[in-house]
């Protein structure tokens, strides 16, 4: 036991006292949240070059109204009222050179050349019967629905996310609706009054603080932010596995190839050596976890997101620590076994692929689980041992009222799996660590495990 501690202390110091550790600690969260970070920082980077739109208006009057709307946009919407900075491109509408009521597709194709060459941003073709509606019976529906006969086509190379598509759609519809209300003798103000929306707000449940007796809770839930915390727990667990446990592969490979293992095994048993490495690694992982969690909570409070910190933070952290420890032990044992079975990093990478896929698998289905944390699928998925740490944490963070037996059962199953993994790894480690020359194949590993 004492020897396990000696080895664990050495492992811990060797891992933590390196530049690589500090760099990884800082870089990992940046890498994982890179997409989000980039979006936040760069979303104001919009291309503001003028967009020339060629319009072929078969309906008759729409072009002029659109022209007015475009001018309105160019003067007011395209520029920030406060700073005067341009935040959207201007739309310059002009009539298409094609001067016919019924162009052939070939003529349209020729007009589109201007789009391809960049002379115009888009070619908009407004159908003659955009204002007409008719009843249509579609298959499988009882009542007939009203549909517009004509339509508008935008020919461009821009993506469907482009602001112009949205702008045109909204302007044309509001214009035509206005015409229809007027034709039906419904003044716009009356219509607006009718359409005033009723706010429906999602909130967290109210409760009573056991100490102060005050009513607490009821905070508003913003769209998307209530999956932030569950998502963060998953990423956090993955980061800790990567920074804390993955280095074991290199460490074992080094001990094997540098013959350090031979010397160590003259002083400790393989069980003590592996045990020490695992204990040291758990220590490193817990350090990383503390730094990240502490940083996240402090950062959230400083940035004013204090209200988003869940009220059951203590319980969540407790479960997280348990699941994280089990996850790194499970993965760590596998990494040690692979490191001992191989003779260089290349061989190890090949064997590691399936392991990484299994580790990452929960992240492939996380959205399904977080959307419906209490569905049968979610319950079952979170009880599959390799997925349990991440998925059970996800569910605990997104559905506070989870029945206790579920996470408890999860812990038991993962614990059994972890013990099994450590046992198998021990068998493989004992034989593999002293083997020189070619790496071992899967068949060898199975043989070592069974024979001992």
């Amino acid at each position: 036991m004492r020897k396990i501690i000696v080895i664990a202390v050495r492992e811990y110091q060797a891992a933590v006292r390196t530049k690589a550790f500090i760099i990884m600690l800082v870089a990992m969260p940046v890498l994982m949240s890179g997409g989000v970070l980039a979006h936040v920082l760069l979303k104001d980077q919009v291309d503001t070059t003028d967009r020339v739109i060629a319009v072929l208006d078969h309906s008759g009057t729409l072009f002029d109204s659109l022209q007015d709307a475009a001018n309105e946009h160019n003067e007011h919407e395209a520029f920030d009222d406060e700073t005067g900075k341009q935040q959207l491109p201007r739309y310059i509408l002009r009539r298409s050179a094609l001067d016919t009521d019924d162009p052939t597709t070939l003529q349209l194709a020729e007009e589109c050349d201007k789009v391809r060459s960049g002379e115009v941003f888009a070619l908009v073709v407004i159908g003659a019967d955009v204002r007409e509606v008719k009843e249509e019976k579609s298959a499988g529906q009882e009542k007939p629905v009203m549909r517009t006969v004509g339509g508008i086509d935008i020919y461009s190379d821009a993506t469907t996310f482009d602001d112009f598509n949205r702008w045109l759609r909204s302007r044309v519809n509001s214009m035509i609706q206005k015409e229809r209300f007027a034709a039906a003798n419904l003044p716009q103000e009356k219509v607006n009054q009718c359409l005033v929306p009723v706010p429906v707000q999602a909130r967290k449940p109210l409760g009573v603080d056991t100490e102060t007796g005050e009513v607490i809770g009821g905070t508003r839930k913003r769209e998307g932010t209530d999956i932030l915390i569950p998502m963060a727990t998953m990423f956090l667990m993955f980061m800790v596995i990567t920074i804390g446990a993955a280095p074991l592969i290199n460490s074992v490979l080094e001990e094997k190839m540098q013959r350090i293992a031979e010397v160590l095994l003259g002083s400790v048993t393989p069980f003590q050596l592996m045990g020490g490495k695992l204990v040291g690694m758990v220590g490193v992982s817990m350090t990383i976890l503390t730094l990240y969690l502490g940083g996240a909570v402090l950062g959230a409070q400083q940035a004013g997101f204090g209200e988003h910190i869940p009220s059951n933070l203590g319980a969540l952290v407790g479960w997280f620590v348990v699941f994280q420890a089990l996850a790194v032990l499970m993965c760590g044992a596998m990494f040690i076994a692979i490191g001992a079975a191989c003779s260089d990093m290349k061989e190890a990478q090949t064997m590691l692929m399936p392991v990484w896929i299994v580790i990452c698998f929960p992240m492939f289905i996380w959205f399904i689980v977080v959307r419906e944390p209490t569905s049968t699928f979610s319950v079952i998925a979170s009880l599959v041992p390799p997925c349990t740490p991440m998925l059970m944490m996800l569910r605990l963070a997104s559905a506070p009222g989870l029945p206790l037996w579920q996470p408890l059962l999860g812990v038991v199953l993962v614990l059994l799996t972890t013990v099994f993994c450590v046992f198998v790894a021990g068998r493989i480690f004992r034989v593999g660590i002293l083997m020189q020359g070619k790496g071992a194949k899967i068949g060898d590993l199975i043989r070592w495990t069974v024979r001992g």
């Binding site: 000696v6 060797a14 540098q258 350090i260 031979e262 010397v263 002083s267 400790v268 048993t269």
Partner: protein, 302 residues
């Protein structure tokens, strides 16, 4: 009392028999030299003594007990190749190995050893900055710092220049004076001759020599001549009674056949050149090694 007793031990790796029916007894406080060609089973035998490998059959008793799965703190081990964590500092790694063996009173011991091995200024440097010879010395200190009763050194002199080899040799002899049993394997026959009380040679998994150097040499008898001539005297094997010649440059080692007459050989040499040195001797360990394991080896001695 014997520190090590190996009793009819066999070890195979798959179809390859690395050690075959080996028996050996290493007396307490002796310096035992293990010699043998590469791949002969030396390292395997050492690893079995270290309890890193288990024999397929036979017993090994160290300090009178069979060690089953128990690593022992009473044995120090220096592996053939570097066994040090490259990123650790010298002082830290020595402290680590001492702690592993259960020694807590290591601080001044580390300093003492570093001074004795002339490594004091490297105490706070990382192992990866050391030269091969210096790393070897650090490895040696790591093996002995916990004052084990038995030390196993696998080719400790490899890569050491004469000065460092001398330092190491003195350290080993001092350990012997303190009552430590030392086993070391080596390819350097000179060192083995000078330092070992007993020599054990293994060849193709079998023991072929196991005795004091003197006894071994007596078995062969004085069948070797060491001669120096003032000029190249051609092929000496043409002289009657000369079986083989080993040319060392400065002198030649001549192996005589059975029944050869030393005086007749001397006369023949005098006809060819001026004889500057003529010594009747027992074969050197080097020569014995080559006789047993060389390309035209005769039947290995039992």
């Amino acid at each position: 009392m014997n520190t090590i007793e190996i009793d009819k031990v066999t070890k195979s790796f798959g179809d390859v028999v690395a050690v075959d029916d080996l028996s050996l007894a290493v007396p307490h406080g002796s310096v035992y030299g293990f010699i043998g060609p590469n791949g002969s089973g030396k390292t395997t035998t050492l690893r079995m003594i270290m309890n890193i490998l288990y024999p397929n059959s036979g017993d090994i008793r160290v300090f009178g007990e069979e060690l089953h799965g128990a690593a022992t703190d009473r044995i120090g081990y220096l592996p053939e190749e570097r066994g040090l964590y490259t990123k650790m500092k010298v002082r830290d790694i020595l402290r680590f190995y001492a702690e592993l063996k259960g020694r807590r009173d290591f601080k001044h011991k580390v300093g003492d050893w570093l001074e004795r091995m002339e490594l004091s200024e490297w105490a706070n440097k990382k192992v990866e900055t050391l030269s091969k010879g210096m790393a070897q010395k650090v490895q040696f200190i790591a093996a002995v710092i916990a004052e084990p009763e038995l030390i196993i050194l696998d080719e400790p002199f490899t890569g050491l220049d004469p000065v460092n080899a001398e330092v190491l040799k003195d350290a080993i002899l001092e350990l012997k004076r303190d009552g430590t049993t030392v086993i070391f394997s080596t390819h350097d026959m000179n060192v083995a001759e000078k330092m070992c009380d007993y020599v054990f040679m293994i060849f193709k998994g079998h023991k072929v020599l196991d005795d004091t150097l003197t006894s071994i040499q007596k078995t062969y008898g004085a069948d070797t001549l060491r001669v120096s001539l003032d000029r190249d005297a051609g092929d000496l094997t043409t002289i009657a009674g000369v079986q083989r010649v080993n040319d060392y440059g400065a002198f030649k080692e001549v192996r005589m056949g059975t029944g050869a007459d030393t005086q007749k050989i001397l006369a023949a040499l005098m006809e060819r050149a001026v004889v500057q040195r003529f010594e009747v001797a027992c074969p050197s360990l080097h020569d014995i090694f080559v006789r047993i394991a060389g390309p035209d080896a005769l039947e290995p001695r039992p």
